[in-house]
């Protein structure tokens, strides 16, 4: 059903029931907004998107007002523009003017709006916001002084993650955004997923900086600095250098990292292969023991923290496998010294991830053994881009190189871990082998692809069938977790990823990605898989070597010691 509306003296068609904003956008008219988020219920809080409607006294927020037949709208009348400009001026009046030093300089929406609306003088002078910086979390820093109270982080945390960490506190002009009882972030139930950073229009939320530590290690001749990067970084970093989304630049990353001075460059996908083999064997063993409850994935540290605080009754059903980053970290500190001759204490291990929760994971107590942490520093994709720029490397001039042996060798299954469903797809390729059968010919499992919140697949091996579910976006996990508690869940394995779409849409990825960008990154990873020769984790020669020479075999005592971990109940304000 279509209706006709008049916009700026021109007739346009709009779908009945849609909002004015969406009708305008599909007709090529851009309306500025701060609080509006695609696929979320509109709140009409920021009033940036106001338009003039004939017959209505006040200006109307286009993000929440539905279209009506023969509505006469003015989107850029002097009155509308003046109103929008005043809003930006008011927001700037108490905003700390430290743009040059701000984490979001260049990617700040408030900065962009001030530019677009031609704000060129300080017309309104207010008292500057002064709040304490919240440094407490190992992953996320909060600067309430820069918060413009759009509420996007609150809605993201509530609606997509169902974690409910943030909310508006107090009232009127003393309103702030904070956690339960206004505690620091590390005392709260925050799972460090970083999705709030992705939606924050300003620098009020950003990830913890650990570039100085990495630089110090790089300049310390006693340190052997080893770096690994996640598959999702390879397909997203290009965006930070102005290239089209969905381009895999892993080869360039290897070269750039070597130029910066990293001694060894490894690929986290190697460890993803390791997770696949360990997990497949766990799954087969569980099926043999006829365990009714499903095995839950353990690769997403944000989900793990959520489970430790809110799902304490099913902690024992979470796979004990460390995440790929931590597995590779542990291997680098325990096995690699024997191969390379590096002293374990001299190794400084860095991981580049698309994730902020990995920063939290790296400092978990369980991830340190005999005073040596598996991972010493975690950089996000954004921080890697910053490091590359800092070292003056022109990515357009770099020639691709390959990663170092042995942990730069990976199957293409390992690369799939970046997408929600990729881990399951990889496990489905390895499971027949783990069950003692033949390797399957890897084929595209269509039902596991795409960015849907819940996906399902079934694998038959002989007479046994395995039922898989993939959940992305933590809020989508709640109904499934309920069925586990009720005993009615018939899945054998559930992959849970906190971020919608998986790691490719993680909280450490380039800012400003929309659904199309996420899809492009996903396509790039699946594209990689189709072209490869080694497409099964168990076919990765270096995995076989690692098992033969050191670990003994999947789920061996040595494997359990190095590659597996434990979880414990966390007491936080829920």
């Amino acid at each position: 059903m279509f209706v006709k509306i008049e916009v700026n003296n021109k007739l346009i068609k709009a779908r009945k029931g849609e909002t004015i904003m969406s009708a305008l956008e599909s007709n090529g008219i851009m309306i500025p907004s701060i609080c509006a988020m695609k696929d979320f219920t509109p709140t009409g809080a920021c009033r940036m998107c106001v338009v003039e409607i004939e017959g209505k006294q006040g200006l109307v927020p286009s993000c929440s007002e539905p279209v009506n037949e023969w509505m006469k709208i003015k989107t850029h009348s002097p009155r509308v523009i003046r109103s929008r400009k005043t809003i930006v001026e008011l927001l700037l009046s108490n905003h700390p003017d430290d743009c040059l030093y701000c984490d979001r300089n260049g990617s700040c929406e408030l900065q962009g709006l001030a530019e677009d609306l031609n704000v060129r003088e300080r017309r309104i002078v207010g008292k500057k916001n002064k709040y304490k910086l919240d440094h407490s979390s190992p992953a996320i820093v909060r600067d309430p002084a820069k918060c413009i109270l759009c509420g996007r982080c609150v809605r993201m945390c509530d609606e997509r993650l169902a974690v409910f960490t943030l909310d508006f506190i107090n009232r009127g002009n003393s309103t702030i955004i904070g956690t339960a009882c206004n505690k620091d972030l590390n005392f709260s139930n925050c799972i460090s997923c970083g999705q709030c950073i992705m939606v924050c229009p300003t620098g009020a939320l950003f990830e913890k900086d650990c570039l100085p530590e990495v630089e110090d290690a790089l300049h310390n001749s006693d340190k052997n600095v080893i770096i690994q990067y996640d598959p999702s970084v390879g397909v997203a970093l290009a965006e930070e250098f102005g290239l089209k989304p969905g381009k895999d630049i892993s080869g360039l990353i290897h070269a750039a990292l070597r130029k910066i001075g990293f001694d060894k460059v490894f690929d986290t996908s190697f460890a993803a292969d390791l997770v696949t083999t360990e997990l497949s064997h766990q799954l087969v063993a569980r099926k043999k023991q006829k365990v009714k409850k499903p095995l839950l994935s353990s690769c997403c540290p944000a989900w793990i923290k959520f489970a430790e605080q809110s799902c304490t009754d099913i902690l024992s059903d979470i796979s004990s496998c460390k995440s790929p980053q931590q597995m590779l970290g542990a291997v680098i500190k325990t096995v690699y010294p024997g191969i390379s001759g590096f002293d374990p204490g001299s190794i400084f291990s860095v991981a580049v991830t698309p994730c902020t929760a990995k920063k939290f994971e790296a400092q978990r107590e369980e991830m340190t053994k005999k005073g040596l942490s598996d991972i010493d520093a975690v950089l996000t994709t954004r921080q890697l881009a910053r490091l590359i720029k800092l070292y003056g490397i022109d990515m357009s001039q770099v020639e691709p190189e390959i990663a170092d042996e042995p942990y730069g060798v990976r199957s293409s299954s390992g690369k799939l871990f970046g997408c929600a469903g990729g881990m399951t797809e990889s496990v489905m390729r390895t499971l027949p082998w783990a069950a003692g059968g033949k390797d399957p010919e890897p084929s595209r499992i269509a039902e596991l692809r795409g960015i849907k919140g819940k996906k399902e697949a079934v694998l038959k091996i002989g007479k046994t069938s395995y039922k898989f579910a993939v959940i992305s976006g933590l809020a989508n996990a709640l109904p499934v977790l309920e069925t586990i508690r009720a005993g009615t869940c018939d899945y054998d394995f559930i992959e849970i990823m906190a971020c919608a779409g998986g790691c490719i849409n993680g909280g450490g990825q380039p800012i400003g990605a929309d659904e199309n960008v996420v899809k492009a990154r996903m396509k790039a990873l699946y594209g990689l898989d189709e072209k490869e020769i080694i497409r099964l984790a168990q076919k990765n020669p270096k995995i076989c070597e690692l098992y033969d020479d050191f670990l003994g075999g999947p789920l061996s005592e040595k494997s359990r010691d190095v590659l597996h971990t434990t979880y414990s109940v966390r007491k936080v304000l829920l």
Binding site: F164, D167, I169, R171, T179, A180, C181, N182, L573
Partner: protein
Amino acid sequence: MDERTSAILAKYPRGHRDCLIPILQDIQEFFGYLSEASLVEVGRYLDLPAGKIFGLATFYNQFRFEPAGRYHIRLCHGTSCHVSESARIIRELEKILGIRPGQTSRDGMFSMELVACMGACHLAPLIQVNEVHHTSIKPEDLKDIIDSYIHGEEE
């Protein structure tokens, strides 16, 4: 779980979120303030995250999150008091006690609360310490008023 909190909660149906404010009012009336633990209890009972309850409770002036002091001082900032410069009274008292409205001094002696109107506009500006009203006061009177309570305590 605190038995007294449970007794208050038991008066309301489990999971009915519309009972949130009455429950919080009952808890505050009984304990004098809303503790962290009580927010969590209420959250569990109504299936609401503690953060959301805290967000709602801080919206209203009536809720406190610290136990009240031995001398609970209510400062009126209603219209009449406001035009009689109650803002200066509030600032001065904040300075003397080193706390802000909603807080309690470290020694537990004094706590401050802003209220809208106490119905004694002809005596503005006024404050109420426990049950005693101090009317038509000036900022410079506050020191003596506070001292009188401290000395009263010592004797």
